[in-house]
Symmetry: C2
Subunit: 322 residues, 2 copies
């Protein structure tokens, strides 16, 4: 029985992925750029079990839901078809992200699964191949193959993978203002944005433009410009989503309170910039030296945790993931 | 010495005016629809004073600022040129809107000024003419010539005036969450939206579409649909503004708290819908029978005042506006 274990971390986009050009291949409408984090790891072991009737998937020691299991099986089917294998697998995954931290576990989850499954099934894939493969599980997983700052290129199947990009040092303060599960999933909201938001075309165009500006700012190590582009791109994503019919407002009063406080931090001379994924929680970037002060100032608005740049998905020695 | 006094009220748009096709003529990029309120009147007396060297403008008994005075003189110049007069005027205006209520006094101000000045200078204008004239002072003043629900047509100078439209009965609960003067004026924000927001074209198109839907809903007396269109159009306006570079966030945490509370009101079976002009304060529409309950529920989020449909700008017997 062949087995492999991999670990991956979530990433927070500075230029957001929001909208697909191709639903099946998960090709993004525009490129994006993110920081892979050094916390909230997902560790996944894939073990081939030719004698089993079907795949089995456990998450944090418990059987996963039928929806989760089906999504994992669809992904492992891709790996099996490339490997010419028909063997079912046992997939055991452990996720360190606290429920409701607002960190999509699908990015770390499919990045870890891509590395572990490719290895267990004997595929010989380089890092770009693994990034392309992870993409098929969840778009944002594409970027979690990369250490630290990661740029995911738009384009066709071959061109659409993530690779490292240099940039200024930064810390992220994650502010969890609401730990409840969101009412509308990212997948559904992304579809509704493309179908009903009058701002979707403008969003895609402006994001492609922002990514070019962000690339320049990263290469120049220009933290201020990176921060400005980050916050504007996040506001534009939420603006495009809020313009859906019916509207989806992920940013609630508690979320906007963090954006307001970050504006005040800047007025007080501490450079911080806010971003938020498809949910109420807010992530604030700052220079590493300012992170403690930022966390202190935002502590009254939610649970705060400071994180930095972490490694891309990789194999680790096998351990117990049950 | 000829003199005339007029009174006008502010209006709250259900389909917003945000963007000009022509800055000089103040032709809107799309039509809009509003309710003229029954409170916060502006009362203005215009008295010709041929012996004066220049116009004099007093606001609530005090000399107006140079910027305000210049704007009034530019408007009276329009009236003078049509009347073939060169007489300066004394303009005395009294505004009942409390400072910071978030009610643009320029709508009631220029509506009252248009009626009083046209009369004092002897122009014979019908209501559509007066609406066109008020437009030259401030776009939203166009609609304050009309009783209750008012639709302002886009189009060229001749076509762009407001007229009444039937609709369901409704009340408005004005929630003042922040009485401070806003940091970016509507005029500047409107210009920045047109110049830098990637969503401006989508905003203009979707507003024209929403106005057609709103017209149908009003004529059908369909309060629910009127409310849905109102809230979505407001969110889209703020989304287009937030997407500016640099971003302008008029809706602060306290504003979004009202949108959140209104969503909860609906979940609890009370039909209410939120809108907001270019500032932090929020206006909530409901059926008249629900207004007291809505005001009660929102009372913790700011100063509340319930208003209803009011009259369009009109002449009143002269009184002391000093």
């Amino acid at each position: 029985m062949r087995t492999a274990t991999a670990r991956a971390h979530p990433n927070i986009a500075l230029v957001k992925y929001w909208g697909k050009r191709d639903e099946e291949l998960i090709l993004p409408a525009a490129g994006s750029l993110s920081l892979t984090l050094d916390g909230f790891a997902t560790t996944t072991t894939v073990s081939l079990d030719p004698s089993a009737a079907e795949d089995r998937f456990t998450l944090n020691g418990a059987a996963a839901s039928p929806t989760q299991s089906e999504r994992v099986t669809r992904f492992v089917d891709l790996v099996r078809s490339r490997a010419g294998s028909s063997s079912p697998a046992v997939v055991r995954s452990r996720n360190e992200a606290p429920t409701g931290a607002g960190l999509a576990s699908s990015a770390s989850g499919f990045a870890a699964l891509a590395v572990a499954a490719a290895t267990a099934y004997g595929l010989d894939l380089d890092r770009a191949d693994l990034s392309r493969l992870a993409r098929r599980g969840s778009g944002s997983a594409t970027r979690s193959l990369v250490d630290g700052l990661s740029i995911w290129h738009a384009g066709d199947d071959a061109a659409s993978f993530a690779e490292p990009i240099d940039g200024p040092a930064m810390s992220m303060v994650i502010v969890t203002v609401d730990a409840a599960e969101k009412a509308v999933s990212s997948r559904e909201a992304m579809r509704r944005t493309a179908a009903t938001s009058p701002y979707y075309a403008g969003w895609v165009d402006s994001t492609a433009h922002s990514l070019r500006e962000m690339t320049t700012a990263c290469r120049a190590g220009d933290f201020t410009r990176v921060g400005e582009i980050t916050e504007l791109n996040a506001l534009r994503m939420h603006a495009a989503i809020e313009a859906c019919e019916p509207s989806i407002r992920y940013l609630r009063a508690g979320s906007v309170a963090v954006f307001d406080a970050v504006e005040q931090l800047r007025a007080d001379g501490i450079e911080a910039y806010a971003t938020a994924d498809a949910g109420p929680n807010v992530v604030v970037i700052s220079r590493p030296a300012d992170a403690a002060a930022v966390a202190e100032r935002l502590g009254g608005l939610g649970a705060v945790r400071v994180v930095g740049a972490g490694p891309g998905a990789r194999l680790i020695p096998e351990e117990d993931c049950a």
